[in-house]
């Protein structure tokens, strides 16, 4: 492989990381507060979780395609790709936020309330610390999945390591496919290991 290829791999890997980070930041920013809100409103839970489940079942390539004609979020490029990735990442984060907070012992929550903690104090000092591991596990699953799914972003001009893979398929060139697939797999392993390490750190505290 020449110098140009190595440079391109690095460039597309960075682009890939950027896609994943942007998507995960937005997904966490939406799904964690939404999960918290759902712990307070049992009636909405079924509907919102149902919707998130449905989103998850749409085949990823189709989802990217569906978004193309939609104004504001759609079109060719990174923005559309990130929107699609966010939609995929929502469910695991949402589900784990909900499960983590709901698993806090009712006696603990009741005594927090009876000691005169405000609901904000209960959230930050009791519910989040006790749910942290579960929420983080959701983020980890979502991140690893997003690293893989982000390869499809190239199909709608979103860039990333998928560029190699699609090019390789089109030209029946296994080396090109590997140039995209191997770094993508490595990224997934690094994300999994890194977030797993943070989880054990939190578990010890």
């Amino acid at each position: 492989m020449g110098r140009g290829v190595v440079e391109e791999i690095l460039e597309l890997t960075l682009e890939h990381v950027w896609l994943v980070l942007a998507a995960m930041a937005i997904a966490a920013g939406v799904a964690i507060p939404l999960g918290v809100a759902l712990t307070r409103r049992a009636a909405w839970r079924r509907w919102v979780m149902g919707l998130a489940n449905v989103l998850q079942t749409v085949p990823s390539l189709a989802l990217f395609g569906f978004l193309l004609p939609i104004p504001l979020v759609g079109g060719i490029g990174k923005r559309t790709a990130i929107v699609a990735l966010v939609l995929y990442a929502l469910l695991p984060v949402l589900r784990n936020t909900l499960a983590g907070i709901l698993s806090v012992d009712t006696a603990v929550r009741e005594s927090a309330l009876a000691m005169g903690m405000t609901s904000r104090q209960i959230l930050w000092q009791v519910e989040f610390p006790l749910a942290a591991r579960t929420i983080l596990a959701g983020l980890r699953v979502a991140t690893v999945t997003t690293v893989g799914t982000a390869t499809i972003a190239a199909a709608i001009g979103g860039g990333g390591l998928g560029v190699f893979i699609f090019r390789g398929i089109a030209s029946v060139d296994s080396a090109q496919i590997l140039a995209g697939a191997v770094p993508a797999a490595a990224l997934a392993l690094v994300a999994d290991g890194g977030l797993g390490w943070v989880e054990t750190k939190i578990a010890r505290a």
Binding site: A107, V108, L113, A114, M115, G116, T118, A205
Partner: protein
């Protein structure tokens, strides 16, 4: 003596079910009023109305002369200690952090909190150096319950609520806990409401006993009066006392 807490014709309904019905009584400052009754008699519901965890459907509860609806719930709860059967210690906090909870929320300085935690651990019979750094999972049931009591006492609240506090303890630990409770009560002279379904415990810890049956107050009086009282429900409880003596 003035009333620390008073119930005025309090009723409570939930999902069409009547839990409390026309409850009226006063808790005098400094006394330990026991609410005795079977499961589902409404004892816990009545207790939760005192610190504003629940509000009456009809009637009102006054604490220090002010309706619980008029109190800022946070202020009311921080001046009311609360001990429950499941204890509800924070599993991610050490013993010290658990006890320090209300003083910290109230913004006490660190030195004062540390001294207070030490004093309370000694008061409930746990060596401060040995226990303050432990987590709740590293304690026995009885030790956890003591930390729960220390946490409730931390900011020196004038009113204490106990909901079956010794219900989950084994019989030996339970008798110990009851004895310590009496000693603690003598040294603190605080107003307390104590919920239990155990008539022996009621006679032991209460300065007065109120018997709740299906949401109504059947009897209210000092232990001697309670022993003389008439009525199917009282006699049912007294019978189980005699049965224990004979057995």
């Amino acid at each position: 003596m003035s009333a620390a807490v008073s119930f005025h014709d309090v009723s409570y309904h939930i999902n069409g079910k009547r839990v409390l019905c026309g409850l009226s009584f006063e808790v005098r400052a400094g006394e330990t009023l026991v609410l005795l009754g079977r499961s589902g008699a409404g004892k816990t519901t009545a207790l939760k109305m005192v610190n504003g965890l629940l509000f009456p459907t009809k009637g009102e509860v006054l604490v220090s002369g002010k309706s619980t609806r008029g109190w800022d719930p946070i202020r009311l709860r921080r001046r009311t200690g609360y001990v429950i059967q499941e204890v509800g210690l924070f599993p991610h906090y050490t013993v010290e952090e658990n006890i320090a909870l209300v003083p910290r929320l109230e913004g006490w300085d660190t030195g004062r909190i540390e001294a207070r935690v030490r004093e309370l651990l000694e008061k409930v019979g746990l060596a401060p150096e040995e226990f303050r750094g432990r987590y709740p999972r590293e304690l026995s049931g009885g030790q956890r319950q003591r930390v729960g009591v220390a946490r409730a006492l931390a900011a020196d609240p004038p009113l204490l609520l106990f909901d079956e506090p010794f219900g989950a303890l084994d019989p030996v630990t339970r008798v110990e806990a009851q004895r310590e409770f009496l000693a603690l009560r003598r040294s603190l002279a605080k107003t307390a409401i104590f919920v239990t379904h155990d008539v022996r415990e009621a006679l032991l810890v209460g300065t007065r006993i109120g018997l709740l049956h299906e949401g109504r107050l059947e009897v209210l009086g000092a232990p001697e009066e309670f022993l003389q009282a008439r009525g199917a429900e009282v006699e049912g409880f007294l019978a189980c006392l005699r049965w224990k003596e004979e057995g």
